[in-house]
């Protein structure tokens, strides 16, 4: 089992003929992903590997059935591409690009909610169901990181994901699904919205969240735990604990504003809700072990 994506999920790639799009499409297929079609306006008739390319999503879907779409488009076209996918009735979308304008992101979040679609991203490496399929770019060949197992992972940061997941693997675990919700100030799906999927996934024993300063997503996770909506063990690592107030720390979403978003607050909320908070990545493995042990008693 895995959440959102598995080896049967029929994946469409919007922006498939671009350099990154075509490169990673081949890797996704190599990993086992069922990529059924691609879209680039003006490029209908071409193929990427054996994947047929169409002018528009509608035209692709007249030929193949599609369950999910992956957007390999530049940030300024992300809103239009998402609306195209939603209009075509696609209910799962992953958006990778970094740099989506804030006002576009707000409208995208609105549109996704209205359509009842799960839209992951932007500013993410994507999602991967270990050993089965991926939508995005993950160095799955690094087997000290990308190892199947029973730990669900959610992350706001691509670079930190490799670092933390390596610790999970080092402790003898592997991952069920890894969901990169992205580092933008307006993630189109939030931690607390993915959590129920992990809760009901029998292949997930515990969840690791990789958070950081800024926003209120970690607090929402704590809220969900307090309400009993998530009852499996949860380990969190949060970057930017010592970051100064008011500075954007790399990610646009990683900023403390209006007194909100300090890692202290997040740690307090999560600990108060029964989560285990790692002070540094190397503690994640040990915490997972003891969390799972306690949970079994």
């Amino acid at each position: 089992m895995s959440i959102i994506l598995n080896e049967k999920t029929r994946v469409l790639v919007q922006g498939i003929t671009g350099r990154e799009g075509s490169f990673w499409t081949k890797h996704m297929i190599d990993y086992g992903t069922n990529v059924v079609a691609g879209v680039t306006p003006g490029k209908e008739g071409r193929t990427i590997g054996e994947v047929p390319v169409f002018h528009t999503v509608k035209r692709a879907m007249a030929h193949v059935e599609v369950d999910a779409s992956l957007l390999f488009v530049p940030p300024r076209f992300a809103k239009a591409a998402l609306k195209e996918a939603l209009d075509a009735g696609i209910k799962k979308v992953v958006i990778l690009c970094d740099g989506i304008p804030l006002h576009d992101a707000l409208q995208m979040r609105s549109a996704a909610r209205l359509a009842g679609a799960m839209v992951i991203g932007g500013n993410t490496s994507g999602i991967i169901s270990m050993g089965k399929a991926m939508m995005g770019f993950f160095p799955y060949w690094l087997d000290r990181v990308y190892k199947p197992g029973k730990i669900g992972i959610m992350t706001r940061s691509g670079s930190l994901t490799n670092e933390v997941t390596a610790e999970v693997v080092k402790a003898g675990f592997g991952a069920s699904s890894l969901i990169g919700i992205g580092g933008d100030p307006v993630p189109l799906t939030r931690f607390a919205e993915v959590l129920p999927l992990f809760q009901s996934d029998p292949a997930t024993d515990a969840v690791v969240i990789i958070g950081e300063l800024g926003g209120t997503m970690e607090e929402e996770v704590a809220e969900a735990m307090k309400k009993g909506l998530f009852t499996k063990p949860l380990v969190a690592y949060l970057g930017g604990r010592t970051a100064p107030k008011g500075k954007k720390m790399g990610h646009a979403g990683a900023i403390i504003t209006a007194g909100k978003g300090t890692v202290e607050d997040k740690i307090a909320a999560l600990s108060g809700a029964g989560a285990y908070v790692a002070k540094k990545p190397s503690m994640v493995g040990e915490l997972l072990k003891s969390a799972l042990a306690k949970h079994q008693i």
Partner: protein
């Protein structure tokens, strides 16, 4: 991109939001003429981007010309990195409000926040009296609706005679927010004058950097930065922050850089500068090194764990930079991810020891910087 008060007020004026009479001066010799234009009493305001200008003595009230001169000298002596001073007419205030528009990431709406407790620190009110802040959510596809404006104004306790002007003000401010792809527009204080007008006492606008391509009228200039090196980094598109510690960070990936930042602080050492050369910048090691070398640092710490940002490319870039720029500080590396074997080979070939563990690298750097490892 944060705008200065004087820029925000120009935008307000262009959107029919009333602002006080004001003049911008560059030096004290222009003060006489400025006061002739705006009259006395007046207010002297440092045009700097930092918050809390009032508390920092960067905004001063003056009854007459002589006092204005004295206050101007005071402000000049206190301000850092200031290019302009604003001389503004003093307004006959009846009441002060707070109003701002930002993004609400949960609803996907624009959020208008307003409070009848204007002129003071809104973060303080948010913490101590959150019930005094009125929030209104605006769907961007629909735009601000008249009844939303009315509800907000009535709830603020605005007098019936000012509802119509207040509604227009809200529409104009919302317009500023949308038209400029703003992250934030804020008027604090929004002054209600004794003569019955709403006037923007201050103005904060922050433009979304990701949307600057739609607004070529805004460009980052040297004035927006505390130092030359920060300006240079911004022009290059490299996230860069300056501190005054010992260890320079040149890491790939924002999350990873923040983690290294925490580790350095946790081990009671300190960060000299924060440079993030992941993502589209991973091949810019030479440029990154040039920026880094403008800081004072004892050790450079390079940590990466990349996918698209290939380890070998970054390692080669680092080696090239060292060859070209010959930095005089020691360099500790933990370069991992796609192409890491080749990366380690490159580093070894240049006499650098490639570490594989982030924490180990942090400890090594601190040791080289002469710091103690106290956790």
């Amino acid at each position: 991109m944060k705008l200065f008060e004087y820029q925000a007020k120009e935008i307000f004026e262009g959107s029919d939001i009333r602002v006080p009479k004001r003049t911008l001066i560059k030096e004290i010799s222009e003060l006489n003429e400025a006061i002739r234009q705006v009259g006395v009493p007046c207010v002297i305001k440092a045009q700097v981007l930092q918050g809390g200008r009032g508390k920092a003595g960067l905004i001063q009230f003056a009854e007459g010309l002589e006092e204005a001169k004295k206050k101007t000298y005071e402000v000049i002596s206190r301000a850092k990195n200031m290019y302009y001073l604003m001389v503004e007419e003093a307004i006959n205030i009846d009441k002060e409000f707070y109003i701002s528009i930002t993004a609400d990431p949960i609803s996907g709406c624009a959020m208008i926040m307003a409070s009848a407790e204007g002129g003071v620190d809104i973060e303080e009110i948010a913490k101590t009296m959150p019930e005094k802040i009125i929030k209104t959510y605006v769907n961007l596809s629909e735009g601000l609706l008249p009844h939303q404006a009315h509800n907000l104004l009535y709830e603020l306790g605005i007098d019936e005679s000012m509802i119509s002007q207040g509604t227009q003000l809200l529409f104009n401010l919302y317009d500023v927010y949308c038209k400029n792809d703003a992250e934030l527009v804020e008027i604090n204080p929004l002054m209600l004058t004794k003569e019955g007008s709403f006037v923007a006492g201050d103005g904060k606008i922050s433009i979304d950097d990701n949307a600057l391509y739609r607004h070529p009228q805004f460009s980052l200039t040297r004035e927006h930065f505390e130092s030359d090196v920060q300006y240079e980094a911004a022009v290059e598109g490299i996230p860069y922050l300056q501190f005054d510690g010992d260890i320079g960070l040149m890491c790939a990936g924002a999350g990873l850089t923040n983690t290294v930042f925490d580790l350095v602080n946790d081990y009671r050492s300190s960060v000299a500068c924060y440079l993030e050369f992941g993502g589209p910048n991973y091949h810019k090691a030479v440029k990154a090194m040039k920026l880094i070398m403008q800081s004072e640092l004892k050790v450079l710490l390079v940590v990466t764990f990349g996918t698209i940002a290939r380890a070998d490319v970054m390692a080669q870039g680092l080696v090239d930079a060292m060859k070209e720029l010959k930095p005089d500080f020691p360099i500790v590396t933990a370069i991992r991810g796609t192409g890491e074997e080749k990366a380690h080979e490159i580093l070894r070939g240049f006499g650098l020891e490639p570490l594989a563990d982030m924490e180990e690298a942090v400890k090594k750097a601190i040791e080289l910087a002469g710091g103690a490892l106290v956790e």
